[in-house]
Point group: D2
C-alpha cells in the first residue's frame, strides 16, 4: 500500500496500513452514489460529489441505470473524485440488502460484469474504475465469509489487478484482497458506533447510528489524525482507516458530509482519493 | 449450382466494401450466441462456435447471464472467433424482440453499458469486443430509423471508435455508422428470402424463411463469390455482404451452419472474421 | 368563477355519462399511488389517500412492490377509497413510460396478471379492485390505438366484467370498454391544459401543465359542476368527466390535491368514488 | 388429513395423514409446470399434464410469463388437474434456487402477490388455486426454517384459508401450515433416494437422484400402497405421502412420469388430485 519510513506517531495498524505522520495527515472520504433507478432518485449526488474524494458508484444490479452511471462518472472525473464500482447482488427489489446464497463462481462473473460495465462509463469520462467496494448484503457477506471475500477478490484480480478493494477494516475482504495481491483499503464509518473490539455496533442496537454532524465530524478527525475512536463503552480503540465512509442517502447526509469535510480540513487533514499516490 | 472460379464477376459493392477477386473470396459467418439465461439455455453454442467466425454474444439485456458470457467469450477467443456485442433493448420477458420507444440519449447509455460489460469478458479471455450488432427489435429499428441508428453508432464511437458495426446491407445503421467514422460491415441472411428490391421478405409471408440446408448453403456460396442472390420472383439481385448470418437457435441450426461452412469451403471461399484485415 | 347551484347547466355528456343535475354534483378524484419500489419511494401516499376517492394502485410492472401494494390497499379500504389497478407495460427501468410493441394477446395476459395480483391485496383488505386504469405509455397507447384498447378491455372483461375502466374522455379505451360491455369512466386532468378540440395539450408545449393550486382547483369545480373547461385559446369546451385525476408525485402534489378538494367541497360538490352507485 | 376408520394396513403416519386401506389406494402425482419464460421453454408441459393430477404452476418470480400461466391453467382445468401456486423468491436469474435472506413480512406479501396472480388465471379457466407449493430454495428454506414456514403459511391463510400447502413430509412447512389451520399435504419424491432417517439424500451425494423409470415406478407403487420406501442403507422406512412429486424438466422426465403412472394404475392405485375429497 504505502511504504512509510517515518517513525511512529502511529503504531502498526490493524490492517497493515500505516497512517502518514507529520504535520499533515491525509484521508479519503467515500460515499455511495448513483443509487437511483430510472424514475426513482436517491440522495443528492451532485452535493455529495463536491464533498467526497471517492465515489462508490452503483453498477445497475441493486440500483443505477446507465444514464445515471454515465452522469456520475462524468462529474466524478471532472472533479478528480475516484470512481469505485459498488458491486452488488442482482436485487433491485431488495436494493442489494438481502443476502443471496450464490454459487461463488457465478458471483465472480456477476462482479466482473458490473465492474466492466461501470468501467465503460469511467473510461469515456477520461477516468477508470480504480477500486471496488461491495454494496449492502454483499459487503457484509464479504466481510464475514472468506469464500465470498475470495470470490470478490478473484473477480477484481481477473478483471484488473491494479484495481483496489475497499472494505471494512479487519474484514475477510481486506484479507483476501491482500492474499490475491491486490491493494486493500480499510475504511471506517463516520456515523457508526464501534464496540470495544473494533466492530460496528449492530444497527439493531440503540445508538448504533450517530446523527449529530459535529460529533461525527470530530470522530472523523480523530480517526484521520490519531487512528483511534471512542468505543461505546468509552474506551479508546485503534481504527486504522485510509478512507472514511459518509452516507449519501440518509436524512441530513449532506449536512454531515459538509461538517466532516470542514472539520478535517480545519484539522489540517488533506482529503485525497486513496487511489492517488502520496504527494 | 454456382460458378465459383469465374474471375471478375464481382463489381464494386453496394456498401463500399469490395469483394476480393481472383481464386479465393473471403467471407465471415456470424451467429447469435450466449442467448440462454440462468436455468434456460438456447441453441448449441459449442457446436455453432466451431462453425462460425464471428460470435454475436448477448450482453444480458435480452439474454445472457454473466457466466454464460464469460464462457462464450473464452471459447470464442480460443478458436479465433470474433466477439461482437449483441446489444438489445432491456427486455428479458420479450427476448429483445419488442420495440421499446426509448429516449435516444438513454439508448446510447444502455448500449455503452452492454458493450462495456461484454468487453470485460472479452478482455479477460485475451480478446476484445471488435464489433456491435444490435439484436431483435433494436436491429430492425436501427435498420429503418435514422435516429436510432445514430444512437447506436454514437454509443460505439463514444466507447471505442475502432469497434465495427454489423448491420443489414443498405440499412440506416450501416449508413450512420459510416457517417460516424466507424467501420460498417453489411451482412446477408443465409436462410431468408429476398425481394426483388433486395429487402428481406417479411417473416409473415410464406417462404420467408428457408429450411433446406443445401439450398441455403448454395445461396451463401453465391453471395460470397458473386455477391448476388436469387430473389423470390426469380430475378438475380446484388447482395453485397462481408458477413453472412446463420441462426443458432432454430431447429436444424447446426445442420444448416455445417452445410453452409462445408459448401463455402468446397467453393474455395475463405472463412475469416471480418474484423481481421485482408491477408 | 363558477356558478354552482344553477340548475340544468349540464347537458348530455360526450361519453354517454350524464352529470347529476340539481343542488349537488358528485365527482371522483383519482390519483396514482403505490409507485415506489423497494428502497425507492415516490410521492406521499398517506397524504394523497386522505384527499382522493379512488386510488390507482401500481401493480408491480412499472412500480409497486408487494408490501407497498398491501399497505396502500389496506389504507384505501379503511378510508372507503376505491381501488383501481394501474396496469402497465413491464418496465421498471422506464417506469412504464415507454411504449412497448407487444403482441396484443400477450398484453391481455400481462394485464390479467396485474389485476389479479392487486386484487389479492384488495380482497385481503376487505375490498376489491373495482376499476382498471392503464399507466403511462399504456394509457396513451390505449387512448389512441383501438387494438391496444381492445386488449385492455378484453383483459378486464375476462377477469371480471363488473370491473370498470377509467380512461381519457373520448379515447379509444373508453369506446372499446363500452363495446365490451364494461362500465367506462371518462376522466379529466386537473393540471393539464386542453386544446379547443378537447384534447390534452402535449407536455412538450409551454403551458401544458398547470401549477397554480387555486387555478387548478377552480377548473376542477367548473368541470364537476358545468362539465366545461377553458381551452388554451380562451374558448369554453365541454369536458365530461366522472373522475378528475390529480397527480401524486409532482412537486406540490399534496398542496394541489388539497386545494382541489377544498374548492370542490366549498362548491357543494360531493366527492365520491365513481364505482359507488348514485345516492 | 382424512379420518380413515378402516383398521390398519398402515400405521399412523408421520404427518398425521393415513393412507387409504383396502383394494384401492389413491395418490396424487404433482409436477412443476409453466417454468419457461418468454422465449425460453423448459420441459414438456403438455405431455406432463396428461400424466399428473396436480400442477405446480410457476407464478412469474422464478419463471412463468403470464401467457404461459394462462395456457397451463387452462389445460389443467380442462383435464381436471389441480392447480397449485409454485411460489418462489424473486429470482429469474437464479431460477429461484438461491436462498434470499428476506424480511419475513415482505416474504408474506410476495407470496400473496404470486398466489393472487396465478389465481386470476385459474379463475378465468373455471378453476381455482387449490394449493401452494414453494419452489426451489424457498421450498428448502420452508422445510427447515420455522420462521419462513410460518411466513408462507401465514400468506396462504391470509389469502384464502381453504388453500392447502404441499410440502416435504415431516417439514416445518407442513407443521406450520397445520398450526395455521390449513390443510397440509405431505409429499414424497419419486426419483430421490432417502436416508434411513427418512430425509432426502443430498443431491451432492452419489445416488441421490434415481434415473431408472421402472425402479422409480416401483418405489412409487410401494409409497402409495404401503407408505414405505427402501432407504439407501437397505432398510425399509415409513414415507407417508398423499402426493408424489415427479420432475418435469429433467432428461427422460416424461418417460419416468409415464412409467410411474402406468405402474400405479397397474397396481390399482387411483390417481386423483389430493384437493378433491374422497370418492
Amino acid at each position: 500500500m504505502t511504504a512509510v519510513d517515518a517513525p511512529g506517531l502511529n503504531g502498526p495498524s490493524v490492517d497493515g496500513a500505516v497512517a502518514l505522520p507529520g504535520p499533515r495527515s491525509t484521508v479519503d472520504l467515500n460515499s455511495d452514489l448513483g443509487e437511483g433507478f430510472g424514475r426513482w432518485s436517491l440522495g443528492d449526488d451532485e452535493a455529495i460529489l463536491q464533498l467526497v474524494t471517492s465515489a462508490n458508484v452503483a453498477c445497475g444490479f441493486h440500483a443505477g441505470d446507465p444514464s445515471t452511471l454515465r452522469r456520475v462518472c462524468a462529474r466524478a472525473a471532472e472533479r478528480g473524485v475516484g470512481i469505485g464500482a459498488q458491486v452488488s447482488y442482482r436485487d433491485l427489489a431488495g436494493f442489494g440488502r438481502r443476502f443471496i446464497a450464490m454459487d461463488p463462481e457465478e458471483l465472480v462473473d456477476e462482479v466482473i460484469y458490473q465492474i466492466a460495465a461501470l468501467d465503460g462509463f469511467a473510461r469515456i469520462a477520461g477516468s477508470r474504475v480504480t477500486y471496488v467496494k461491495p454494496h449492502g448484503a454483499l459487503y457484509n457477506a464479504a466481510a464475514g465469509d472468506p469464500e465470498i471475500a475470495e470470490a470478490i477478490a478473484g473477480a477484481v484480480r481477473t478483471y484488473d489487478p491494479s484495481i483496489a478493494v475497499l472494505g471494512l477494516a479487519g474484514s475477510h475482504l481486506v484479507r483476501e484482497a491482500r492474499s490475491a495481491g491486490l491493494t486493500a483499503v480499510p475504511e471506517a464509518f463516520a456515523d457508526r458506533a464501534y464496540t470495544a473490539e473494533g466492530l460496528l455496533v449492530s444497527r439493531r442496537e440503540p445508538g448504533a447510528v450517530l446523527h449529530d454532524p459535529e460529533l461525527i465530524a470530530a470522530r472523523c478527525v480523530r480517526i484521520a489524525t490519531e487512528s483511534t475512536v471512542e468505543a461505546v463503552d468509552g474506551t479508546t480503540i485503534a481504527v486504522e482507516a485510509r478512507s472514511i465512509c459518509v452516507h449519501g442517502d440518509t436524512d441530513g447526509a449532506v449536512a454531515i458530509a459538509q461538517a466532516v469535510r470542514r472539520a478535517l480540513e480545519g484539522a489540517g487533514v488533506e482529503l485525497r482519493p486513496f487511489t492517488a499516490g502520496p504527494a
